[in-house]
């Protein structure tokens, strides 16, 4: 078991890991691919680089810096997080990891697909939380919108509950998944249809399918997706934290762009440092 698992290897997550590792906590950082930082072509407003630096270079240096002091930094996409009260379980397509503390630093990613009807039917058949709402669709026909590892993970959560599941990739390539009651449809979606609740999906080509419920699992899961399942309070999909970077869930901290506010490297670094230090205190205090 790790003391600390950090999801995200941007400035926030890596900085947190520098503190926790140096505080003698066994630390794992999981990251996936793109960070906000890599998209920043040239950063000129961050301390210490006389000619500025590209976001991509800064991202890579950060990861090497953490590895050099002994942090395990592994490239694996997190698809699921479970709170088992005295430890957290973090699931990737390759396996599982456990930790005493979890730090979310997945950046400023908003996953909600722009499809007509999604907002209208939230709570009326459109759901973001398989573990909260799967039950409502026992033995029914449901759909999952998404096409990546996250969509596959969410489909697996629902496989034993629903009668049948259709993965709607909305024009993206079909993921690999084999199960008797799972179909995949790659057509582009026009809108979600229904009277008072979800009744079906209409595609751009004019065809329709019937469905009783739709679970959203587009792209790579971000902190807001994890938050919904862990019971972390969010505000406009930003994680709500106090001045110690603590969320409302014991043992879970968040830092960087995922907490909203100023979306800049310097703020991510500060919050990462604070989250790391508070994680150390938390583990010492709870004698974990």
């Amino acid at each position: 078991m790790y003391d600390v698992i950090i999801i995200g290897a941007g400035p926030a997550g890596i900085t947190a890991s520098l503190y926790t590792q140096r505080g003698n906590l066994k630390t794992l950082v999981l990251y996936n691919e793109k960070s906000g930082l890599e998209k920043a072509e040239h950063i000129e407003n961050y301390y210490g680089f006389e000619n500025g630096i590209s976001g991509e270079a800064l991202y890579k240096i950060g990861i090497e810096q953490a590895k050099n002091i002994g942090v395990d930094v592994i490239k694996e996409e997190v698809t699921k997080v479970e709170n088992n009260i005295d430890y957290f379980k973090i699931v990737t397509p390759r396996g599982e990891y456990t930790s005493k503390v979890l730090i979310l630093s997945t950046g400023n990613k908003k996953n909600k697909p722009k499809i007509k009807g999604i907002e209208k039917f939230e709570g009326k058949g459109v759901s973001y939380c398989t573990i909260c709402d799967g039950f409502f669709f026992r033995n029914r026909s449901i759909s999952v919108i998404g096409s990546g590892n996250y969509a596959v993970s969410e489909t697996n959560e629902l496989i034993n509950i629903a009668n049948d599941i259709t993965i709607l990739t909305n024009g993206e390539k079909a993921p690999e998944i084999r199960a008797d009651n799972v179909n995949i449809d790659t057509k582009k979606i026009e809108e979600i249809i229904g009277e008072n609740k979800v009744e079906g999906v209409k595609f751009k080509d004019g065809t329709e399918i019937q469905t009783d419920g739709i679970f959203i699992a587009q792209g790579v899961a971000g902190s807001a997706d994890f938050a919904k399942k862990l019971g972390i309070i969010t505000n406009k999909d930003n994680i709500v934290v106090n001045a110690n970077m603590e969320t409302n869930v014991k043992g879970i901290f968040a830092c960087g762009d995922c907490t909203g506010g100023l979306l800049q490297v310097s703020k991510a670094v500060y919050e990462g440092a604070k989250a790391g230090l508070e994680a150390i205190k938390y583990i010492r205090k709870n004698n974990k």
């Binding site: 709170n83 573990i131 909260c132 709402d133 039950f135 862990l230 505000n235």
Partner: protein
């Protein structure tokens, strides 16, 4: 005010006929995020005193109520005014958002 346990049996009396606003939290015991909503609801009940009623509905024990209000996602919080569902919050919310819904 105490947080009331609302059931199919007392819904009419406590909610439909109430002359003050009623905040109802629809939850289930197996729903993790619902456990985080619960203390927020308790806190609201404490803070607002006698000006509103606050209650919780266990959707497993009260399937008819869950059906009646089309609950397909939990936690869901509904604010009732004069017996009518005025505002619905789907998913975990903080205290401020729910209090704003009362205005």
């Amino acid at each position: 005010m105490a947080v009331l346990k609302i059931t199919q049996e007392n819904f009419e009396e406590e909610v439909s006929k109430s002359n003050i606003p009623v905040i109802i939290d629809f939850y289930a015991d197996w729903c993790g995020p619902c456990k985080m909503m619960s203390p927020i609801i308790d806190n609201i009940a404490e803070e607002l005193g006698e000006s509103v009623k606050v209650g919780k509905v266990n959707i497993d024990d009260n399937k008819n109520l869950a059906m009646q209000f089309g609950i397909m996602s939990i936690p869901t919080v509904i604010i009732f005014k004069e017996g009518k569902a005025e505002k619905t919050f789907v998913g975990l919310r903080d205290k401020e958002e729910i209090l704003n819904g009362l205005k």
